[in-house]
Amino acid sequence: MSIVTVQLGQCGNQIGQEVFSALCSDIRGTHGLCSKKENGSYQDSCKERFFCEEESAVPVARAVLVDMEPKVISQTLSMAARSGHWKYSSHSHFCQKQGSGNNWANGYSVHGPRHKEAIMNLVQKEAEKCDRLGGFFTIMSMAGGTGSGLGAFVTQCLRDAFPTSFILNHVVWPYGTGEVIVQNYNSVLTLSHLYHSSDALLVHENDVIHKICAQLMNIKQISFRDVNQVIAHQLGSVFQPTHTAGGGSGYSRNPLGELMESLVPHPEFRMLGLRNIPQMPESSLPYSTFSWPGLIKHLRQMLIANAQMEEGIDWQVRPPSSIPSTNKPLHFNTSIANLVILRGKDVHGVDLGSFQDPSLYTSWLNPQDAFNAWKTPRAFNKYEKSAALVSNSQFLLKPLDSIVGKAWNMFASKAYLHQYAKFGIQEEDFLDCFTTLEQVISSYTNL
């Protein structure tokens, strides 16, 4: 089954290009560490999922590129072509001249309706190229104007045009200390709208990835390219082919559907966080050894202590049942559902019992249903063993609360509202969005 990626705005397009680049370089790499047959199967599955063979010499990404100004798209197209190993179709992009000016209302209310037909035509064409459409993967930031506003509008259009397809929104959360002054407004507007049309939101926070670059990857002068490459690696570790539990011998044919099924049992809870270990500079890989028990132990503790990366994990945090008092322990991250994805050598014997501990979860689901595992013996991106965790838990509660708090603070002073009113987003619209998100915050808090 194939996934159509929609890259929206500067961030969406920059990350999208790194994702396809990472996927392509992974399948071309010889570090499969598994049988030739397995490797061949993996490569075919990845290609079907993300690339279209067409008549061209190199695989063509199944993607639609959208931006309201031309510079980023033209850079993205040329970088892909220069790699020589894959490219974008020359007919799959849409851009305008003026950009959205970091104004969500401009992206949503002006650019959206104006360009709906053109954009949806491109999406339709990509969807038709798929033998079986597995769903849509959109990449956007929520701080600016195009990815956020136009992205929210396009997601709605996707939902209307493809009511039975899965839609996963990858949303990048900006640095807390500001990339855009009105980022909190744009974020509130985006998240609340996406909540109504998307199936799930997979989130990456720039602050977290930045720390990974600084502390784990040892990069001195971190650029957005570095950040985007880490994000691409983490996304690849989720979306490259795997065998799911009941899937028989072949690679899973419905990754998005299975993701939703495993992780989103209730529509009120759609926010997914992502962790991936190990993460280190490529030069260190030959000198490192990994053990599954070690990786699983770390990943589990990262989950319950809400650690953002493999360093600085708080080992003091324990699940409720192992503490005599009846109060919920502070800092403990309650989960609704978790998905662990293991890639590499000796993957089939790994004991994941610790993730099925009922004390990690809310009481609604059986622990067997709340936890799922996908595996493949084929190693990913030169890591002999790697483990990813996609979690529907309280991971994002604090950052979400912080964003809503700052936005509310600004809203109370009425600053910048005239900029949104110019394009039709009024105070009442803001209030509706705040209400939606306060509801989400309240739901996650009371897990």
Partner: protein, 475 residues
């Protein structure tokens, strides 16, 4: 890619404008090695096929034939414009872009605004329309003028009004040179306050400039060069005050160095819209992020570094010094100290080999010493443009919406009131058709209201921070 049009009005406006076009050509020549007319060039220049004379058609792609500035030159005296047309830039403009007269405005805002405004209205509109037609997607008008005289101030603000009426969707960025206290034009306070009302009501963003600040920067540079304190030679073309031609120092006019600073301001402001980068910052984003309330659109700007040493690899420390300098009093283009006043919003546009981690590190470092308004504690707008300015490996433009503009406005109002109370020179204005006493009282009232808005914000600076309570959800 979008286009911008520069409207330069009056003596000051045209002199600064002239410097702008000179440096813009230099910047593009440094970046555009192949002589192909590209999108970056098209933002300020048309490519005209002049083989059959100046009325040739526009060429949209391919080799550069003849670059014409997207500009309108307006002056009610001929001297300045004529000089431009006889100088090295004469081929960049054509006669269809000029509006001149003979007798000037006599340093009288009313003459510029009411008399010449009325007289040249149609002509101006027609020429603006023509310029706009040559643009694929016109995003912004840049007006350059001074506030203290008659033409730049009066006719300049008349044009501002016109632009809002005729092109309401296009942004209006105004670069205004404010008169100093010792200005030799006695009526400059009147002209400035009358012009301020127009800026309050019709501009999207105003970048105020004060000659004193420009002069201080020029002097600082001269001192540094002549004192021999700099170990190695300074790259001549990196001076924020230098003109394009390096052999021009002898023939440079006194204001050229100061005007080059303003020209560089405009180049840096538009760099991220013209060139690529990992985090673009377009002009509409500047307006969106830096203007929280419609009338508070006055942005204090600072440019660093002022010069580059010839033999330097950029160690981190020097990069950090650039950020620190951007917030120091002596790098601001008006006499103001943003560090000790209240920030409503701040934008940092970085050019060159600087990455997001450098930005983050410096913001974290400088934040504690700056005061931001309570509802915008993390009010930073950042942009990264990969192409550095000529002669530099990196540079920074800081734009601050900060209450430190208040003293400038208060002083202006005081100088105005000194004259107004005695009705000095008032008759020169009131005798003009369309001018009444109410024009003056409304203008000063508009200025007072603006000052009051800044006062209210300043009052919040020292108070306790009480965050408004959040919405409560019934479970």
């Amino acid at each position: 890619m979008t286009q911008s049009v520069v409207v330069q009005v009056g003596q000051c406006g045209n002199q600064v404008g002239c410097r702008f076009w000179d440096l813009a050509l230099r910047e593009h020549a440094a970046v555009n090695k192949k002589g192909i007319y590209d999108e970056a060039l098209s933002s300020f220049f048309r490519n005209v096929d002049t083989r059959s004379g100046n009325n040739g058609p526009d060429i949209y792609k391919g080799k550069i034939c003849s670059l014409k500035a997207r500009a309108l030159l307006i002056d009610m005296e001929e001297g300045v414009v004529n000089e431009i047309l006889q100088g090295p830039l004469k081929d960049v403009f054509d006669s269809k872009q000029l509006i001149t007269d003979v007798s000037g405005s006599g340093n009288n805002w009313a003459v510029g605004h009411k008399i010449y405004g009325c007289q040249y209205r149609e002509n101006i509109v027609e020429k603006l329309r023509k310029t706009a037609e040559h643009c694929d997607c016109l995003q912004c008008f840049f007006i350059i003028h001074s506030m203290g005289g008659g033409t730049g101030s009066g006719l300049g603000t008349f044009v501002l009004n016109l632009l809002e009426e005729e092109f309401p969707e296009v942004y209006r960025f105004v670069t205004s040179v404010y008169p100093s206290g010792e200005d030799d034009v006695i009526t400059s306070p009147y002209n400035s306050v009358l012009a301020m009302k127009e800026l309050n009501e019709h501009a999207d963003c105003v970048l105020p400039i004060e000659n004193e600040s420009l002069l201080e920067i020029v002097n600082k540079i001269h001192q540094m060069i002549n004192s021999g304190k700099l170990g190695s030679t300074v790259k001549q073309n990196s001076l924020v005050t230098s003109s394009a031609g390096s052999a021009k120092t002898l023939q440079e006019k006194p204001f050229d160095a100061m005007n080059n600073i303003v020209a560089n301001l405009l180049l840096n402001l538009t760099s991220s819209a013209r060139f690529e980068g990992s985090l673009n910052m377009d002009l509409n984003e500047i307006s969106m992020n830096l203007v929280p309330f419609p009338r508070l659109h006055y942005l204090v700007s600072s440019l660093t570094p002022l010069y580059t040493l010839a033999d330097v690899n950029v160690p981190s420390r020097r990069l950090d010094q650039m950020f620190s300098d951007a917030f120091s009093r002596d790098h601001q283009l008006i006499q103001a100290d943003p560090k000790h006043s209240l920030y409503l919003a701040c934008a940092l546009l970085v050019r060159g080999n600087v990455q997001v981690s450098d930005l983050r590190r410096n913001i974290e470092r400088l934040k504690p010493s700056l005061h931001f308004v309570s509802w915008n504690q993390e009010g930073w707008k950042t942009g990264l443009c990969s192409v550095p300015p000529v002669g530099h490996s990196h540079s920074l433009l800081a734009l601050a919406n900060n209450t430190c503009v208040k003293p400038t406005f208060i002083e202006l109002k005081d100088r105005f009131m000194k004259l107004y109370k005695k009705k000095a020179h008032l008759h020169h204005y009131l005798q003009i058709d369309g001018m009444e006493q109410s024009c003056f009282s409304e203008a000063v009232s508009s200025l007072s209201d603006l000052i009051e808005e800044y006062n209210e914000l300043d009052a919040t600076k020292c108070g306790p921070r009480i965050d408004p309570s959040r919405l409560k959800i019934a479970i």
